[in-house]
């Protein structure tokens, strides 16, 4: 399992005068789960959104499965079909029912037949445990169900890599488990995953590698047991202490 799936080098991104990413290098091996943690504003979502070029990097190189996405001549639409993305706010197509949400891109982008697209869609709905919701509209589903449909939608394109942008942050606490369960199952099946999350338990149990980001830099990275269990950098220690044991700390010091 040493084949490289995602390789990011020297990635820089700024919004106007605000530098969000200040030189990021990340390597994700095929079949690995990499969790990105860090405080809000640290640039972790921007990093993830650069991987499928939803944000255009200012500098650096991004290679996914041997295709350099930062090459100006790359067919980005084609490349994106191999990179699944799951959003914090689900973003299911509100005017289409669940089945159509899963088939529309298969039909229009991959040019699959209606029959084939539906078979694949139903198989993936079954994977996330929502086969019986195929004819529901997104608005009729709970947040947790919507997010699982969104995962099934991304899977229906047969991606090589899946990107998760805080997939459980908009969910009621009791619905988080359903989504994390589906993600864990995906990881067990060998999907390559890049996950921005605040779920430390998930990161600790599922991630092959954890990256801690702050202020546009990677502060610390390594196996989950090291970064979460025994962090070396003071900034990581401080962040984890606040996240894992929030009631035993005073307000943060003024910067």
């Amino acid at each position: 399992m040493s084949e490289i799936s995602v390789e990011i080098s020297g990635l820089k991104k700024s919004f106007g005068s605000l530098d969000v990413l200040k030189g990021i290098d990340v390597t994700v091996n095929r079949g690995d789960v990499v969790c990105i943690i860090g405080p809000s504003g640290s640039g972790k979502s921007t990093l993830l959104r650069c991987v499928n070029l939803l944000e255009e990097p200012n500098a650096g190189k991004i290679v996914v499965n041997g295709v350099e996405l930062t090459d100006p001549d790359v067919d980005i639409d084609r490349a994106r079909t191999k990179i699944g993305m799951v959003f914090q706010s689900f973003n299911l197509f509100a005017h289409l029912n669940v089945l159509a949400n899963l088939t529309v891109a298969q039909r229009k982008v991959l040019k699959r037949s209606e029959k084939e697209a539906q078979e694949i869609a139903l198989r993936n709905l079954d994977r996330v445990g929502l086969k019986e919701k195929a004819n529901s509209m997104p608005a009729q589903l709970s947040g947790g169900q919507q997010q699982r449909v969104a995962i099934a939608r991304a899977l229906s394109m047969d991606p090589d890599v899946m990107l998760f942008d805080e997939p459980t942050s908009a969910l009621d606490p009791e619905l988080v488990g359903d989504v994390l369960g589906v993600m864990r199952q995906l990881a067990d099946e060998g999907m390559t995953m890049l996950v921005v999350t605040h779920e430390m338990q998930f990161a600790r149990e599922v991630a092959d590698k954890v990256i801690f980001m702050d202020g546009g830099y990677i502060v610390e990275e390594g196996p989950a047991a090291d970064v979460i269990g025994n962090p070396q950098e003071p900034r990581t220690q401080e962040f984890l202490a606040r996240v894992l044991d929030p009631t035993h700390h005073g307000p943060s010091d003024p910067v």
Partner: protein, 265 residues
Amino acid sequence: MALSKRKRAEYFRYSQYTLLAVIAVVIAFLADWEQIRTAFFNFKTMGEMFPNVITIALKNTLIYTALGFAFGLALGLVLALMKLSSIAPYRWIATVYIEFFRGIPALLVFIGLAFGVPLAFQIQFDIYSTVMLALGIVGAAYMAETIRAGIQAVPKGQVEAARSLGMSQGRAMITIVIPQAFRIILPPLTNELILLTKDSSLIYIIGLARDQYELTKFGRETLSRSPSLTPILVVGLCYLIITLPLGYLSRYLERRSGGKKVSVL
């Protein structure tokens, strides 16, 4: 004895009703009902207007409006997309178009198309083309702004999800954004249809054959041979047959969409 606040409000309400009743009674007594009847309710004239007022005039009004609305909607969509384009000259052209045709009376467009264009370009439009172009050109200017607002009201995440599934910008627009935008703007578009129904009367400026009459022209024509204003009343009611259900439909759609308001300007 001082009245309580509640009692005072009650008496005030009663006095309003009494006042309205008195005004109604006074009008009823003062009005010369016989004269009003002969002015507006000449049953003989009414009888003569049927069935042509329905089979010709109402039918033509519906056809002219539908043609104008269809063309206006298509042109309005193009203008809305131009207005949102990243290519600056497209935006300029759309803006100039919208400001120009929103700012002049629709009648001028009818005159221009019926008399100006044939003179300048040696093209003679038939009646259907003229009304479709004229109503469409004016309607498009209004609808473009509505459609643009609808497109912008579709959450950005919808486009991001579509793009992340490999759809191109254009494909995402056609398959994901525009269908949702039209759901949002259905109520204001219905209002636009009502306005066009009334504007279709402006076609009178062109000479029409008898079987091309729409409601207003039909009413005026009948009026010239009639001793009373009855024809005007009849065609007015015919307009209401079209516009009242549309108004009701518009409010129903607005309620169903959860009262989501789209700012047009």
